[in-house]
Amino acid sequence: MSGGTKYYKMLNVMCPMHVILNRHGDISSAGPTTQKLFPDHSLVGKSFLDIFEIKRPQEIKSIDALLEKAGTKLHLQFRDPPHRELKGVLMEGPEVGQMVINLSFGISVVEAVQDYKLTAADFAPTDLTIEMLYLVEAKSAAMEASRQLNQRLQGARIAAEEQALTDTLTGLKNRRGMDQVLTELIESGEHFALMHIDLDFFKAVNDTMGHAAGDHVLQEVSSIMLKEARRSDTVARVGGDEFVILLRDFEDTSKIDKIAMRIISKLREPILYAGELCEISASAGTALSCQYEVPDADQLLADADIALYESKNRGRSRHTFYVGSLRSVDAGSEVSESTQEIARRA
């Protein structure tokens, strides 16, 4: 075997994706993998620069200019479709004027393997391409398993949130939680009061001082309500700045009024947040279960709401018991009389 043949055989095994150029820049031989990229014609005899465009480090038009780039990384592209990009490195060969260029697919190797139906035999045994393809597949499979898990966890989280009975910001019962206690109270038949409390000027705090300040205010309001309510009462946040307290075990309605007024007066005190004072107030309205032959949750909530708006109309920071006459536009002074009447009945 001549030295030249040995040399070609060596290159075919150690870098199967190479080309050898003669002194004129014509391809004198191509490695088996290089030739696979051009299934329609043999590369031998063609001018290298007619087949490949050198894009980087800069456009190279002559073979002499190419030789100057020996040892540096070259970015090449097929001049004909599919204009595949390759990486390469060139060195002088053992014969005078001879150049050897080794090529690689770079990051597009995954596509290239598909496009040219390459097998492990098309790469040198030391080439890490097969390991890289293995990793791409293994990581994709692992990512897919993780993605499915995340999707299931997200679904479970949404379901859990929907079923939650607690307001995550304040730790109070949420609307669902309140509805549940209200239903149980109605079913038990015991007397109870439903107090609806609405914050005044809360929107202004949120708008001028930001949501963080608003959240802080809501948390302070909640702790005030929990402190002023008794253990047997249920405090719930049922909307952005709306609260409901369900009160049980009271001797007479004055107790309820006292609790309401204590909360209202505490809420008039400014709340400190980040060195600034947030000023809010609250209005409250209460409906009593004993006002109805058969108490109904929606009715109680609607009537407490009417009483609440009466408090707002009368200048805020007030508490009003619901009476039927509030439903007429001009309620006037009857309110206090009726309230006393209810107080006697309770």
């Binding site: 139906k117 097998t119 499915q148």
Partner: protein, 195 residues
């Protein structure tokens, strides 16, 4: 034990014997749930308990069950990705056998906390090999017997496999390669797995 391993046992029972058999097995093993999450880590004690329960429910001897699971892992269409990952190990069956030493490292490259049984291939001559397996779960030698049988089929090689028992927790499988190019095999397209 990694969820992937537990999940593989679950998939085996569901794909081969149906969901009812799996639910019965999960109940018998006192899992308290029926679905293993592939990417979660479970207590090591669960896996032998599940395998014992499956063996009881299916009324299959434990060793045969392990070999069936091994075969299933490589040959069932639902686990095509696993077969492909194993095929990356070598261009022919002997090449594949030599890649087995790297298998636990390959697995960890893909899923960092996945711990596979320790395995070591010994080449006695070009036809005679043996595989030593040492895992947390008893019977991993039988499992690898199943894997090797299915992979030989995949490569089109004719082999004779024999589990030679346990010594100090290490199970040995004798592999006799009768013919490397016995049949066509299933072929392996390098680029087919990536879409």
């Amino acid at each position: 034990m990694h969820g992937l391993i537990n999940r593989a046992i679950q998939s085996f029972v569901v794909d081969r014997y149906g969901a009812a058999a799996w639910n019965a097995s999960a109940k018998r093993a006192n899992l308290g749930f029926t679905e293993f999450e592939a990417m979660w880590i479970y207590d090591d004690v669960l896996t032998p308990r599940v395998l014992a329960a499956v063996s009881d429910v299916l009324d299959r001897p434990y060793d045969e069950l392990m070999e069936d699971i091994g075969t299933y892992l490589v040959s069932h269409p639902n686990l095509e990705s696993l077969r492909r990952l194993l095929r990356f190990g070598g261009v022919d069956f002997v090449d594949f056998l030599h890649s087995l030493d790297d298998l636990p490292d390959r697995a960890r490259l893909a899923v960092a906390d996945l711990e596979l049984p320790r395995i070591e291939l010994r080449e006695h001559n070009t036809q005679q090999y043996s595989l030593a397996c040492e895992g947390k779960v008893p019977g991993c030698g039988h499992l690898f017997t199943g894997v090797l049988r299915a992979m030989a089929d995949d490569y089109g090689a004719l082999v004779f496999l024999e589990h030679q028992g346990v010594e100090d927790g290490t199970e040995t499988v004798a592999i006799a390669l009768l013919e490397a190019d016995f049949a066509e095999g299933r072929g392996f397209d390098l680029g087919a797995g990536v879409q």
